[in-house]
């Protein structure tokens, strides 16, 4: 994993150059699917790009209370963390990651929601604080299920290297783990059953209430990048490895798109749950998955 490959992955394929258009494409797919399911036409194809550029063009005056240095730094960190997570995914180029890159991937996937919470508190708006408190409660509850599922998969394959995880054959525990990750994605991406943190009807836009212009554009971009990162993680764990590299990318894109369509359907079909109901849901679900995963992992380990 020398420097050039690292930069190639960071800036070119799974990184910036691929990730940003993919993020906009996924955002557009989600809005278009929800619209079509409601018999509406939905936004034109380049809409996320237009929104991004328009927000970049807004002239946000420097008010100390609103646009402090720290406050405008959070979205940049969030975008960087998401792109970092994306570049670690074992997709096309030389795929010999380093041992333990799964743990780095998990850390980078957690950072954006941490920055989201911090942004809510630094923006000093009451709705920002309430939104951040909700986001914190939600991330505690869904992370239980998410981390346990990933660790269970890693333990069952005896490796923390993404590369070997991607190659190994599917086992029952692996599919349960992937299902658990899929259940956590709506909470992580603030999709409708769990869109509690940025509940427009209750607390304006939650932590992002005070953001405007470039900050808001970067937050939308980091949201899109999270889409790509999460679907990428699920795709790399679930997909078999084929011989040709272009077949890999094709299958990866198709699988990610189907995950996006599924989640958009879920978002269109449900109402927004309250924070305590969703936390209770995840904790109940979390305990079952936890016990199941750890026990099977230990059994597998003891038998060998």
């Amino acid at each position: 994993m020398n420097l050039t490959i690292a930069f190639f992955r960071l800036l070119l394929f799974p990184g910036l150059l691929f990730a940003v258009p993919a993020a906009w494409f996924f955002l557009w797919t989600e809005r278009k699917t929800v619209a079509l399911m409601q018999r509406r036409i939905g936004p034109p194809f380049l809409q996320p790009f237009f929104d991004f550029m328009k927000l970049m063009g807004k002239r946000v005056p420097r008010q100390p209370g609103i646009t402090g240095a720290l406050m405008s730094a959070w979205p940049v960190f969030a975008v960087a963390a998401s792109i970092g997570a994306l570049s670690l995914l074992p997709i096309f180029p030389l795929r010999n990651g380093f041992p333990g890159d799964l743990i780095l991937l998990l850390a980078l996937l957690e950072l954006p929601s941490f920055f989201y919470i911090a942004a809510g508190f630094t923006s000093r708006s009451l709705f920002g604080e309430i939104g951040s408190a909700r986001e914190a409660v939600l991330s505690i509850s869904y992370n239980v299920v998410f981390l346990i599922a990933v660790i269970a998969i890693a333990v069952s394959q005896h490796t923390f290297r993404l590369e070997e995880l991607a190659q190994s054959s599917g086992s029952l525990l692996r599919w349960i783990g992937i299902l658990a990750i899929l259940v956590c994605i709506p909470a992580k991406l603030h999709l409708n059953p769990f869109s509690v943190a940025n509940a427009e009807q209750e607390i304006y836009a939650g932590p992002m209430t005070e953001y405007a212009g470039a900050g808001l554009a970067l937050w939308d971009l980091s949201h899109g990048l999270e889409w790509v990162a999460m679907t990428g993680l699920v795709a790399s764990l679930a997909l078999p490895r084929t011989s040709h590299w272009w077949l890999d990318i094709g299958v990866f894109l198709i699988f990610s798109l189907s995950v996006v369509l599924l989640l958009s359907g879920l978002a269109a079909a449900t109402a927004r749950l309250t924070i305590d109901y969703s936390a209770r849901l995840y904790w109940r679900l979390g305990l079952i998955v936890a016990v199941l995963a750890v026990s099977t992992a230990l059994l597998a380990r003891l038998k060998l």
Partner: protein, 360 residues
């Protein structure tokens, strides 16, 4: 420690400005106080400076969703004072317009409740269905919202083809029974937001004197159309849905059943409508001195108009408007105590508030 969360004048969950200051500890609301008056336009002040022809167009603009309610009530008040009896067909047309307005107002409320609940699909489905009613209303009266149908002593326009109206009503009833009512009452995520939320017990409803669907959802069987029938309601047979649990789901069920009742009334009115003249009296309006009170059942509850005239000038001396939301709004405070912060917008939306009615 408790802090104050202002659901301020301009909030995405509120269609109109009014301030709801919630005193919360964590996510539960301890107390709430309301500040209204943003939509106060001094309509009662203006009403004393408008002649009887202008008064009806002014009263129509008290509220955008229930405009027909206000014109019907003021016309009935002046007719009772002046002793004018509108022709039979005009009474039937008034019943048809009142029920069409109840249809579109209740379906609008179902859409807004879906939007506040975060259930965007039901918001879109309800409003898509409501467009059929708005087209029918525009075909009859020329404007989607302010119909200008009522005139002292009769109506301004006739309903030419009841067949198209009946066809639209069948479509509405089919769509409601097939998709909107089952989803709102059986979907788990929607139920988790509605059941046991914002409860108003029967005693509280009695002491706060709430009206309309809010009262009927708390077990008070009260409906002015049956208690004091006006227009042609005494010739219509319909029943008044009543629920007893008093939470947001009960209000939703009461309004859904009322929509089906409205469809029933519309079918009866359109089929038994006499083919007489509808224009009514042609001579100049002469209003004697005196005070009159007229009440009708609007989509949100009982509307009371008290008109006082002195017989000499052609402007009323005093027009008093008591709108249903004015009676239901104090009930929001009792419903919000102990509720979750996330449910506060849904609870205040569940009484179908119309602040421009409240502030006049």
């Amino acid at each position: 420690m408790s802090y104050r969360v202002p659901i301020g004048p301009y909030h995405p969950a509120l269609e109109e400005p009014y301030k709801l200051d919630l005193v919360c500890e964590g996510e539960t609301v301890r107390d709430a106080d309301l500040h209204i008056g943003f939509n106060f336009r001094g309509i009662e002040y203006l009403a004393e400076r408008r002649n009887y022809a202008q008064l009806i167009a002014l009263m129509e603009r008290v509220c955008g969703i229930c405009s027909n309610v206000h014109t019907l009530s003021i016309c009935q008040a002046i007719e009772r004072l002046a002793g004018i009896v509108p022709p039979e067909r005009a009474l039937y047309i008034r019943v048809v317009m009142a029920e069409l307005e109840r249809l579109h107002s209740h379906i609008l409320w179902a859409g807004i409740a879906g939007k506040v609940m975060g259930f965007k699909t039901m918001f879109m489905t309800s409003f898509e269905l409501r467009e059929n009613i708005m087209d029918a209303l525009e075909a009859i009266s020329g404007n989607r919202v302010n119909y200008a149908m009522n005139r002292v002593g009769g109506v301004n326009r006739d309903i030419e083809d009841p067949a198209a109206l009946l066809h639209m009503i069948d479509g509405i009833e089919l769509a409601l029974n097939r998709s909107i009512i089952p989803i709102f009452t059986k979907n788990h995520t929607a139920l988790s937001r509605c059941v046991g939320v914002g409860v108003l017990t029967n005693e509280q409803a009695h002491s706060l004197a709430v009206v309309g669907p809010t009262a009927r959802a708390s077990g008070i069987s009260q409906d002015i159309r049956r208690a004091a029938p006006y227009a042609a309601y005494d010739r219509m047979s319909f029943d008044v849905p009543v629920e007893t649990s008093g939470d947001v789901r009960a209000r939703l069920v009461v309004r859904a059943l009322e929509i089906l009742e409205s469809c029933k009334i519309l079918r009866q009115a359109l089929s038994t409508m006499p083919a007489a003249d509808w224009w009514g009296s042609k001579k100049k309006l002469k209003v004697p001195a005196g005070t009159v009170v007229s009440r009708i059942e609007g989509p949100r509850g009982e509307v009371l108009y008290s008109v006082t005239a002195d017989g000499a000038s052609d402007t009323p001396k005093r027009v008093r408007v008591r709108t249903p939301t004015y009676a239901n709004m104090p009930a929001i405070r009792t419903m919000l105590r102990g509720a979750r912060l996330a449910d506060a917008p849904l609870i205040q939306a569940s009484i179908d508030p119309c602040y421009s009615c409240t502030d006049r």
